[in-house]
Amino acid sequence: MSQLTYREAVRHALAEELTRDPNVVVMGEEVGQFQGAYKVTQGLLEKFGPKRVADTPISEAGFIGMGIGASMLGVRPVMELMFWSFYSVAFDQILNNAANVRYMSGGQINCPIVIRGPANGGTNVGATHSHTPENILAAHPGVKVVVPSTPYDAKGLLKSAIRDNDPVFFLENTVLYGEKGEVPDEEYLIPLGKADVKREGKDLTIVTYGRPVIQSLVAAELLAKEHDISVEVVDLRTIRPLDIDTVLASVRKTHRVLVVEEQKPFCGVGAQLTYMIQAEAFDDLDAPIGRLCTIDAPAIYSPPVEAEQLPNPQRILKAALALLD
């Protein structure tokens, strides 16, 4: 085991897959000479050369579309969006071409592309750079959506994503890039669509993914210490495919659920989750399902207030206590 940052874990996954498969290429804005806007791709250009690690112009519709076209021919492009917020510039390419081409061709064409980059608030960059589009992406059959919360998960899931024959959208988090965690020295893969129980408990299940996993674990610790409440934290890790079975198993154990997401509430991932939980485990619930989201407005700039707009341990704690009243 080594202590790696989330950033290093993603970088190691890229380097290992670039080494393993000559069809893998890394492309995006500033991924090469600049060493990555968030230094995720640092050193890859030097190690693998400009054919495998290519700087693109600021031209998301163009280069994401190019990657999709190349993937149809069997190249396996891993495209970096400097921010997932820029997906809207390439929306037609991502959701008309990547998501639909297999279906519209009657299964004749595959699109083994990975699009990755950070998708989060909390860095005071305002509404244009703080989008969390996992719900919008996952609403499109044909795509897979991954949102890892730890270095271990990020590495194992990204390697699986790169080997996947369907388009995979991989949403990282700039706030987590510097967070450290244990990562095995030997190679490993984590299957997409497998949730992970990050903390076991018996009184309440928190279902979450991405950075709110880390915040929920802090809240769970406080709830245990200060309120003698035992919280189970289920990290979805992948939004689509969705491991609803692990969620339901936890609900059947604790009978109370709080969904926490760094999403606006309307049509968010939590809306789908709460529907599925009530539909499939209604008789196991002792209380209405709780939901804690980002406060429903565009991302505010003001730094101390943005921290309150997003999920944070105190907001999660309050929401949990309200459910257990």
Binding site: P57, G65, D92, A195, D243
Partner: protein, 369 residues
């Protein structure tokens, strides 16, 4: 040369233009190959006419044979046939939604194409794509795309893939004149020129982006915009298959040999509306359509040239036409007799993984109903 061929139709003799038949790429054609080019153009015309009849007619149950949109290629046949006739093993084609002609030109079975229009499971996309979404990757034909200009970055990706794999080849990315104002097209131009990708951007300029004439939609010359990206460009007439081949051959050779992109505008005209639903009487006159048909019809032009060359006779041309009509009729019969996909088919062909469950590595639910 008229700058806006659609608005000002020149009166020209119905004959192959000047010396293009003598261009090496055309002079090298055998008689059989010339007849094959002619035959393909006729087959496209008859397929389109038959599909138009199917679209406007009713099936035995009194319902529509073909749903949605139908964008016909009548009048533009020499372009798809001329361009696709130049394809080698590593040359690829992608186009927009007026895609029937290219599909026939790359060799797709007209029965599977007509069945796709009818929404039948025997269609080339199993009834899941429709008129705008024909694909045949084994023939290097990558669609068939519905969003104006959206396919052009994919075309650059095909060219990138050709170059990445070290193949000597190209991608021909077709679009209409309406697509040239889409941002994605310009992003694609820049990438192809910046990275020296073997992509030929082919603008099939039929004069109208839907119902808006070129003069009302595009500033300046269309192909010349390539100069802003340091790309080569050219313009040619699309009613003469010899001219299309001679022009495209030049740029394709540069693409394959030097990995250089280019923009080629091919001036053409469509006889039908933007789609069949287009009333086609608000933005152009019947006289304009008839003038083009009379003077520049690509099939008539080529037929006259081949008769003059002694390759065809009026009788042999008629036989080819009869065979094309029969083929289109057989395609319609096949489509009509074929079954529809079932509701169980709706969720097939969505994910590679769900279609290959024994090789699935992911877990969890992929579908949500």
């Amino acid at each position: 040369m008229s700058k806006k061929p659609s608005a000002t139709i020149e009166q020209k003799p119905t004959a192959s233009n000047t010396s293009h038949g003598q261009a090496p790429i055309n002079a090298a054609l055998t008689q059989a190959q010339k007849i094959e080019l002619f035959s393909q153009m006729v087959r496209i015309r008859r397929f389109e006419e038959r599909s138009h009849r199917a679209y406007t007619g009713k099936n035995a149950a009194g319902g529509a044979n073909i749903g949605g949109f139908l964008h016909l290629y009548n009048g533009q046949e020499a372009i798809a046939v001329g361009c696709c006739s130049l394809m080698g093993k590593h040359d690829h084609v992608i186009t927009a939604y007026r895609d029937h002609g290219h599909a026939i030109a790359v060799g797709m079975d007209t029965k599977a194409l007509m069945a796709e229009l009818y929404g039948k499971v025997t269609g080339c996309s199993k009834g899941k794509g429709g008129s705008m979404h024909f694909f045949s990757p084994e023939r290097n034909y990558w669609g068939g795309h519905g969003i104006v200009g959206g396919q052009i970055p994919l075309g650059v990706g095909l060219a990138y893939g050709v170059k990445y794999k070290g193949h000597k080849g190209s991608a021909m990315a077709f679009m209409g004149d309406g697509a040239v104002n889409q941002g994605a097209v310009h992003e694609a131009y820049n990438l192809a020129a910046l990275w020296n990708l073997p992509c030929i951007f082919v603008i099939e300029n039929n004069g109208y982006s839907m119902g808006t004439s070129q003069a009302r939609s595009s500033a300046g010359d269309l192909a010349k915009r390539a100069e802003g990206y340091g790309m080569a460009w050219g313009v040619c007439e699309g009613h003469d298959v010899y001219e299309v081949r001679a022009t495209m051959d030049k740029f394709l050779k540069i693409a394959r040999e030097e990995c250089k992109p280019a923009v080629v505008e091919i001036r053409t005209y469509r006889y039908r509306g933007h789609s069949v639903a287009d009333p086609d009487n608000t933005y152009r006159t019947k006289t304009e359509i008839e003038d083009y048909r009379r003077t520049k019809d690509p099939i008539q032009v080529f037929q006259t040239a081949l008769i003059a060359e002694g390759v065809l006779t009026t009788e042999s041309a008629e036989k080819i036409d009869e065979a094309a009509r029969a083929e289109a009729e057989a395609a319609a019969d096949f489509a009509d007799a074929s079954p529809y996909p079932t509701p169980e088919d709706i969720q097939k062909d969505v994910y590679w993984e769900s279609d290959n469950p024994d090789q699935r590595t992911s877990q969890g639910r992929l579908f949500f109903n």
